[in-house]
């Protein structure tokens, strides 16, 4: 059975889109996409570590291994 080693992946990936000199918008240096933890688990193993109840509610999952905080990756970009 697949054993998720959950620290061994990054939940966010990036690539560099081609920018033509004829593209009028200032170039987006990096384009990001998410690869959340569920993609790295085939079938959840038993007894995974849990959040306490209130924290679980706030985070949207009971299981630490499934938690993936999302923030706008382009927030820093001004234009």
């Amino acid at each position: 059975m697949y054993n998720p080693n959950l620290n061994q992946f990054t939940p966010i990936k990036q690539y560099k889109p081609f920018h033509s000199t004829f593209d009028p918008c200032p170039p987006l240096k990096r384009k990001y996409y998410r690869t959340p933890p569920n993609l790295y688990i085939n079938f959840q193993p038993p007894n995974l570590e849990q959040f306490p109840p209130y924290e679980a509610l706030m985070k949207g999952t009971l299981w630490k291994a499934l938690y993936d905080y999302y923030e706008n990756p382009y927030k820093e970009r001004k234009s």
């Binding site: 079938f43 959840q44 038993p46 007894n47 109840p53 209130y54 679980a56 509610l57 999952t61 009971l62 299981w63």
Partner: protein
């Protein structure tokens, strides 16, 4: 009639939401892991705890569920009195 919504309402509601969220998560987990005895045990514990907290809440703010799932409607029919969840 709209009931008085005080700090305790929000506190108790938050407690119920937290406990019930654990139950939602365990339910979905048990749906695909029906043989996990630890999870089932935890589910039963939280299920009992949820009933306890709801009893306290319902005594003060009226029934949470209808069709007789929340027992003891009290001396008067209270279901229709606000506020409703999207209003508070």
């Amino acid at each position: 009639m709209v009931k008085q919504i005080d700090d305790e309402y929000y506190q108790l509601m938050r407690q119920i939401q937290a406990v019930d969220f654990v139950l939602v998560e365990l339910t979905l987990y048990l749906d695909t892991h029906p043989d996990d005895e630890n999870a089932l045990k935890q589910f039963n514990q939280y299920s009992a705890y949820s009933r306890q907290v709801k009893q306290v809440f319902e005594g003060k703010y009226g029934p949470l569920m209808q069709f007789g799932v929340s027992n003891n409607p009290g001396p008067r029919w209270d279901w229709g009195s606000g506020p409703w969840p999207w209003q508070v």
